[in-house]
Symmetry: C2
Subunit: 254 residues, 2 copies
């Protein structure tokens, strides 16, 4: 059975799709086979990224790695069956990109995840969905509704097959200014993490390279193939490698 990595955050625009795409391509570059499900049947960012990748690859006679992607529209009959089918892929990893809204299949993907990755902006606006903080001390007053959804998903999973969900909260779009705010969000995350059971990792910093290649479906890992690698990308590559390492994925045969 595949190791299932779900990218979940009900808050919109926190980097779920961007992080999912980069992790998928990083894992393929390490020789793993990847299947993917895009549960955002309306925006389809993950699927669009890979369509662009396929067009570019075919158009230039390259042989870029491509995961097989199923887009699943929740309202279709047979949607749950198609998701279940994906859970039984022969690929090493199943990557599930979920929408930035409440979604039934998104909750299934959260409960069935081996690894749940929740990217967020370094912002108390994003933090507000996992915990509310005191305005003066920035201490966590109470967990909030997304934390409760994960708790519920883990209970469902425990009943289903006694499995556990490794929950990793990833700080996305980190910038090298904003020190006070970064420290405060970091403290609030560190305080909440043991209470509701997640690990924390820095993620992809704010870098144009993580978004400017979307129309060609490329990532920084492909740039030597098209002869555009730059010295400035060395730090970004190290960042992506560190993020993959932080997932603590179990060893899989290549």
């Amino acid at each position: 059975l595949p190791h299932i990595i779900t990218f979940g955050n009900e808050k919109g625009g926190t980097g779920k799709s961007t992080t999912a795409v980069h992790i998928a391509i990083a894992l393929m570059s390490e020789g793993h086979s990847i299947a993917a499900v895009d549960l955002d049947a309306r925006q389809r960012t993950f699927a669009r990224y890979m369509e662009n990748r396929r067009s570019f690859s075919d158009g230039h006679g390259l042989d870029l790695s491509l995961p097989e992607v199923s887009v699943i529209e929740e309202k279709d009959d047979g949607a749950e069956a198609r998701l279940d089918e994906a859970f039984h892929t022969e690929a090493d990893y199943l990557i599930i990109d979920t929408p930035g809204r409440d979604s039934i299949l998104g909750q299934v993907a959260m409960a069935r995840a081996d690894t749940l990755v929740t990217p967020m902006n370094d912002s108390f606006v994003d933090f507000d969905l996992i915990g509310q903080v005191d305005a003066e001390t920035f201490k966590v007053k109470r967990p909030s509704f997304y934390a409760e959804m994960v708790w519920k998903a883990r209970k469902d999973r425990a009943k289903h097959d006694a499995g556990t969900v490794d929950w990793l909260v990833v700080r996305n779009r980190l910038a090298h200014l904003a020190a006070n705010n970064m420290v405060r969000v970091g403290k609030a995350l560190n305080e909440l993490a043991p209470r509701i059971g997640f690990r924390i990792s820095p993620g992809l910093s704010e870098r144009v390279i993580y978004r400017e290649l979307f129309p060609r479906g490329l990532t920084l890992l492909d740039l030597d193939v098209i002869d555009e690698a730059r010295l400035s990308h060395v730090a970004a590559r190290a960042e992506l490698r560190a993020l993959v390492a932080a997932l603590n994925l179990p060893d899989r045969d290549n």
Copy 2:
């Protein structure tokens, strides 16, 4: 009747709530009365911001400007009636914050808007919902589904009262690096704007000041009240003023 300003973008996390909050507070600082509707009954970012503002104001004996905010849950009976009631507020401006997902009341708010503000990240990932671009030339190949939704909303509005919707696309979280990407996104926006009928404005740059005050419900415009104004905020204040000016709001009595 109020001048209705709707903040709409089906893409998540593009800055709808952040921009709505800052424009609401800027308009109040100019002496206008503001009513607000938060159509994101689940995350309630706008309402949460104002709850934090009220707590901080009360807790410190300040007299901070506060709009009256109604949170409307779409699935409740009477939701449409409550939204309609808001359309008849006596306030100068009605600010409507909509969710980053497909929503029936969000579409009503789009059709009934006098001004529709669509903030977006400077990214082809965000652009993809209004238009698809060619991977090599970055020229716009076709408008995409959010553009179609606005087109349909404008038709509905024209039938309803022969009114028009002034659509302003606002480039949010602009950073001073990323010149190539910024130029390409700018060209694509300039190409699409006359075809589907929107104006373009720079918005709030990427600045921590626009997010770090959320727990206290404050904005940079309140900082002199709490004696924390800084020289670095002068540029941010100019940016917010320029954004309000770009809305081209009609004159309203103060």
